[in-house]
């Protein structure tokens, strides 16, 4: 299985450990993983700010780097959703269509494609789950509290395979953390208030870690946790699933 590893730009630059964990995890689960060396960004920061007319360069570069893989996997629901919904240039319609239908967020790739049934991971800690909106409501990685539908969660399914991990959910199971891309600076006051409120619900549960599938949300929460001098750490799902494998 020929997997192209798609590492979002800010993870590449600021959170290489998340990328390393993703890479190692996929390798250990038997995938043949390549990392196309000239990848940059999916273009989402511009598009979500209203500048989708400026994303052509990113589209072209993305297609050039990823068109030949059976699967494209990224540790980010948000960037994957952007590619699925908005990739439009840089290749033939067939190439673009193939990419859009073969790009996966890590947890959905592990659950739906690799059909992982067990992991030799251990993480003996109290972990709070942060559900990121684009993965959840965009990619349907878990059920949504607004809908009348059966409950499920791909990331929880995986976390329950980890030894010693105690999973704790906030009261508002799927409220947004307030990151929202450039929203985090253009609507700074609301953004930070939303982040603080999410954190407070996790603090009530006395968690040691807040775990999520999108590093962007975690970066925002981490920034607040550190400023407020709180001991709780943020951690990406891939890092937990890869721990002590």
């Amino acid at each position: 299985m020929n997997v192209g590893l798609f590492i979002p730009c800010y993870i590449d630059q600021f959170y290489p450990d998340v990328a390393i964990a993703t890479y190692q995890l996929l390798k250990k689960l038997g995938c043949e993983v390549s990392y196309p060396m000239n990848q940059t960004c999916c273009g989402q920061p511009m598009a979500n700010s209203g500048f989708s007319n400026l994303t052509k360069g990113c589209d072209v570069n993305f297609v050039k780097n990823f068109k030949d893989f059976d699967y494209i996997v990224a540790p980010s629901g948000s960037c994957v959703l952007h590619i699925k919904e908005h990739l439009k240039e840089g290749g033939s319609p067939a190439e673009i269509d193939k990419i859009r239908h073969h790009v996966y967020e890590l947890s959905e790739f592990l659950v739906d494609i690799l059909e992982v049934k067990g992991l030799k991971a251990s993480f003996p800690h109290r972990v709070g789950m942060h559900v990121s909106c684009h993965g959840q409501r965009g990619l349907h990685l878990s059920s949504m509290s607004e809908l009348v539908a059966p409950e499920f969660s791909k990331s929880e399914q995986l976390l329950r395979m980890v030894d010693g991990l105690e999973l704790l959910k906030p009261v508002r199971t799927d409220e947004c953390c307030g990151f929202g891309g450039t929203f985090c600076v253009f609507e700074e006051a609301v953004s930070v208030k939303m982040g603080k409120d999410r954190i407070n619900e996790h603090l009530v549960n006395e968690v040691e870690f807040i775990c999520g599938g999108d590093t962007s949300c975690l970066m925002h929460l981490e920034g607040i946790l550190k400023r407020e001098g709180l001991g709780v750490k943020t951690i990406h799902l891939a890092e937990i699933l890869n721990s002590a494998l």
Partner: protein
């Protein structure tokens, strides 16, 4: 009404953090009640789908249904007026008032008249309208616009209401008892109902096949007004139509559950024809709706039945308050309706969202609200209603991210600066840093690691 943009108004709102928490929790409670109510109906998602399809069908055949409604209503003895915009709407109502030499007017349950600024229009002509729904009544006394389309005074605590009533109704100072306050308002309003000559109401659903209309209320003031006054004027947007009476069942089951978590509103009043001696008018208003109908990406925002479920679920609305949207219809739905009315004045609203998508999920008629927010952003930028600095920043970012070598070099320099000269980014010019630490800048990017360790 505030002229500040959403972000600035929101910042001001949040300055009182305890009050923001109270506002957030109050509205979350309503969202929670909605969840409990909808989960008692296994067919909930099917109902949403039906409602969406009925509304889509109606919008696609709006000319037919409007004519059918007009014809039936007229044959029932209702006088039908057509208003192309707010000015028209106000003029028509003023003419009815003037022709009949009316002095006492009561109003209930109409956000459309708020949208058209009818109160101010008539006030400038020396005519006073009394808003009779408790929340509307409170904000009218305070000379404030409503902050929520279903709960217009939700931004006020009972202490605030007590002070307002003490000032205007001479209630006991410091008596915050909600029952006492509501009782005082009721006593005052009853007299006004009895003396009223003309009642204005909104319309929740207008039925094309019968020419009748339905008004959904909890307090019953629409009925009090319509039954005591000799003239009833009902105002409706062109999108309020449904084809048949049998479709009402779908919408009545969805509306109150979505709005407040009630199975149905206390009153669902059906108006078919004037009683003997009564005049009944309907004013059918366009005010930009047909323009929205012509925008392929935004037309289905006209499916909205004004339940405000998207307000209550919106994490941004709950923490910024209705007035920060500087529009009659606030919240996520307002942010996709208002740019159609005035794109420049409302160019900030589609950005007042994280695009979390919760609004689209609670919407009882399945409007893709968060996707339309994204699309409005594209339109607003294309039309040039964007800050020059932001535009330049985006162009720069796009150039860096389109060129792998430039991206790598910029990243390396950026991380180096953050490690060696942290004050270069950890300063007041960096909005992120105001209340958040910057991420740690590692020496190596993942790509650097990969080259060494693959």
């Amino acid at each position: 009404m505030s002229l500040k943009n959403h972000a600035d108004a929101a910042q001001e709102f949040i300055r009182d953090e305890a009050r923001t928490d109270w506002h957030d929790e109050t509205l979350w409670f309503v969202r929670h009640k909605r969840d409990k109510a909808v989960n008692t109906l296994p067919e909930w998602e099917i109902l949403r789908d039906w409602a969406s399809r009925i509304k889509n069908h109606t919008l696609s055949n709006l000319d037919y249904y409007l004519r059918s409604f007009e014809e039936k209503a007229a044959s029932n003895g209702i006088i039908v007026h057509w208003a192309s915009d707010a000015e028209d709407h106000n003029r028509i109502i003023h003419k009815i008032i003037a022709d009949n030499k009316i002095e006492h007017i009561v109003k209930s349950k109409s956000m459309l008249t708020e949208e058209c600024h009818l109160n101010e229009y008539l006030q400038n002509k020396g005519i006073k309208i009394l808003d009779t729904d408790l929340g509307e009544y409170i904000v009218q006394l305070r000379k404030e616009p409503p902050s929520h389309i279903v709960l217009p005074a939700i931004h006020l605590k009972r202490q605030d209401v007590s002070e307002t009533f003490h000032e205007h109704l001479n209630t006991e100072k410091g008596n915050y008892d909600p029952q006492y306050l509501a009782g005082s308002a009721r006593h005052h309003l009853r007299e006004r109902f009895i003396e009223s000559d003309l009642a204005i109401t909104g319309v929740n659903f207008a039925i094309a096949e019968s020419g009748s209309f339905v008004v959904c209320t909890n307090e019953g003031n629409a009925d009090m007004g319509a039954h005591s006054a000799g003239i009833h004027i009902a105002c409706m947007g062109i999108e309020k139509l449904i084809p048949k009476t049998e479709h009402l069942g779908v919408f009545l089951r969805l509306l109150a559950r979505s709005a407040t978590g009630q199975p149905i509103t206390t009153y669902s009043s059906h108006f078919n024809k004037p009683r003997p001696g009564q005049q009944m008018h309907i004013v059918i208003v366009d005010n930009g709706r047909s323009r929205q109908l012509g925008r392929a990406d935004f037309r289905n925002s006209l499916k909205c039945i004004r339940c405000a479920a998207c307000f209550n679920t919106c994490p941004v609305y709950r923490r910024s308050g209705g007035h920060s949207y500087h529009s009659t219809v606030a919240g996520p739905i307002g942010s996709i309706l208002n740019p159609n009315l005035d794109m420049k004045a409302n160019s900030d609203l589609p950005f007042a969202s994280t695009l979390c998508g919760s609004c689209s999920n609670v919407c009882p008629v399945k409007i893709d609200i968060h996707e339309q927010l994204w699309k409005w952003r594209q339109v607003i930028v294309a039309e040039g209603y964007v800050d020059k600095g932001k535009k330049a920043g985006m162009q720069g970012m796009a150039w860096v991210l389109s060129n792998p070598r430039v991206y790598r070099i910029s990243g390396k320099i950026g991380r180096w600066v953050m490690r060696i000269f942290p004050f270069m980014v950890n300063n007041r010019l960096n909005v992120w840093y105001k209340q958040r630490e910057m991420p740690k800048a590692p020496e190596k990017s993942f790509r650097d690691w990969f080259k060494e360790n693959k």
